[in-house]
């Protein structure tokens, strides 16, 4: 039986996050990042959006996207720093920093989506 390791889980989360990012991010980023600000499409009104976001399913889905996408980022960026800048000696620090960001982000997301909203 494989030894208890975290790396496999980090990788699973990375992969799941990759899928989430690929499926959800393009359209959301296009709408909120370009189409609405540039006025190609008129942005939804505040009540409409609040309504949509408050729906429990939206909250859960968005939370999932955020957490997994952050873990995806953490995993990938960690290796990019590690290999790209050859910072093998700093593996621990890099890992802590990347995953630290992801965890902070996830906590923020949970707070915003579950409690604050």
């Amino acid at each position: 039986m494989p030894k208890r390791q975290v790396e496999p889980f980090a990788w699973l989360a990375f992969s799941a996050g990759g899928v989430m990012a690929a499926l959800f991010v393009p359209m959301l980023l296009f709408l909120f990042g370009l189409a609405f600000p540039l006025g190609w499409i008129s942005a939804p009104s505040h009540p409409e959006l609040l309504d949509l976001l408050s729906h429990p399913v939206s909250r859960i889905v968005l939370l999932g996207v955020c957490v997994l996408a952050l873990l995806h980022f953490a995993h990938r960026f960690r290796y990019t720093l590690h290999d790209g800048l050859q910072l093998k000696a700093m593996t621990g620090v890099i890992g802590a920093a990347c995953y630290g960001c992801a965890v902070l982000g996830s906590v923020a997301a949970a707070y915003l989506l579950v409690i604050y909203l």
Binding site: L29, F32, G33, F73, L113
Partner: protein, 133 residues
Amino acid sequence: MTGVPARPRGYRQQPSLWWWMHKRSYTLFILRELSSVFVAWFVLFLLLLVYAVAGGAERYQSFLDSAANPVVIGLNAVALAFVCLHVVTWFNLTPQAMPVRVRGRRVPSAVIVGSEYLALAIVSAFVAWLVVG
């Protein structure tokens, strides 16, 4: 198997810090990996949006205004480009990493990739419909 006495180590070239510039494919690889930064940026952007919406109509409006700032638009345009790179590379590699079998036969890669794009189209259409329609 046990080894024979160690040989004198030969000449070892130190890998260059700029190795990812040496080959087009390496550069593309690094760009692909850097797409993750923009994914993280998107999450931040999204959370700011949620924060704004939760804070009332006014805060929402000021979010929309700052999103229209040319710098932010530029950033988001770049981010979208990187996210697209992520989508293309991710989908292309899926069949290599996860061969799918249906009734003992290997599903051709094109079919797997095709259905991934189909899924992307459906999700995107649904999201657009929810948000805009």
